[in-house]
Amino acid sequence: MAAQLPPLFELTSKFRSCINMINSVDTAKLPLILIRIAQTLHLKEERSFNEVEQEKLQQVTGLSETDVQLLIDGCSFILEQAAYYNVAANGLAHELKTAGLNQDKCAAFMKVWESEREKIVVDMREQTIQSKVLDSVNWSMHLQMSQTIQSKMKSPSVILEFTTKSSNTNNLEKKLNENENFKIEFNHQQLFDFFQNLDKIQQQLDGLSF
């Protein structure tokens, strides 16, 4: 029963002032703001509106600078909570109404959440704390014909080039985070052993079910 679960939004004084701010905004403009916020929700370090855009928003809504920031923060928080618990659109509307948001604003939230929900959750799942993520694997296959002390060899070999990307999006470290490339060479037997290892991993993956 919905009554048993704790409310999604704890009514702190700051949250209440956010609600009031959202209530005061023109309903027609709200969905656009929300969609914009939804696009960068999964990236903690990036702002949804840069400075220029934030000024424009001030002019459009007629609010002061702090009020606009409050508005953006409030909407972001609502969407983050909704994503964290992956609530249904109805559930979200209900919770917002209980928190004191006007009906038309609740409807606006519900509509945006319905359309953006899946993408937000998928983007959030992609986020990882680990430093290096495999980006791509390139390969080339060679036939070595001769070398310094031996000619007329016919020896096939495969070179795999792994490109890893750092998933750390901290702006300070961005310059240090370059793609790292390393190459590994295999002959037929070695590649086959590698493939068998990958098969073992696959078997384990198949065993997972949830």
């Binding site: 694997v137 991993i201 949830f210």
Partner: protein, 204 residues
């Protein structure tokens, strides 16, 4: 009548000179030289060091210049033969053509036959290569929740690759990339199989 030797179109001058001096040398002298050449091939040195050469010349009781010519000629003959995988009959035929003394030819032939498999396998081991994989460690994680999502339920694979140049590469792979990797590798293996069946590879 022109007969081709296993040297190709022209016989190296170092080898041509051999027939002049070889008649003056005794068997135990050139035997030592042959042994030494074979040892150099087997070791990772590219050529004999000056020290070794001088001691060898002394023990063979041979004047240095003659010995140098002898050593160089033997080195050339054996190097050519091994690199081009010359058949033993052709080897013998060419040496006879060069008018070298029969006991010398017999010694060279024996040395060639005996050392050939070892040297060929050493060649394969020592060629210039990119780093190779010595060990692979892996694990599968399932991310249950993060600061962004209460129920994330995302499986993740971590690989740790040990390479023979000493470096260790650790990274994670998402499930999609893993499937892509596995697919590509199975495709490469199939291409390798096709390649090895091609007739061109069967020519020895």
């Amino acid at each position: 009548m022109e007969e081709t030797t296993f040297f190709g179109r022209t016989i190296p001058s170092e080898v041509k000179q051999l027939s002049g001096i070889i008649t003056q040398l005794e068997q135990n002298q050139y035997r030592k030289a042959i042994q030494c050449v074979i040892e150099v091939f087997k070791s990772s040195q590219n050529s004999i060091s000056d020290q070794q050469f001088l001691t060898l010349a002394k023990t063979a009781k041979c004047p240095q210049r003659a010995f140098a010519a002898l050593y160089t000629a033997i080195y050339f003959i054996l190097r050519f033969a091994i690199r081009n995988k010359v058949k033993i009959e052709d080897f013998e035929a060419t040496l006879t053509l060069l008018e070298l003394p029969p006991p010398f030819i017999a010694d060279l032939k024996k040395a060639y036959q005996a050392s050939r498999p070892t040297i060929e396998s050493l060649a394969i081991e020592r060629r210039a290569r990119q780093p190779q994989l010595t060990q692979l460690k892996w694990r599968i994680d399932v991310i249950i929740s993060t600061n962004l999502l209460n129920r994330a339920m995302k499986p993740l694979i971590m690989l740790q690759i040990y390479l023979d140049d000493g470096s260790i590469k650790t990274f994670e792979i998402s499930i999609d990339k893993f499937h892509e990797l596995r697919f590509n590798i199975s495709r490469i293996l199939r291409d390798l199989d096709d390649l090895e069946k091609l007739p061109i590879l069967k020519i020895e």
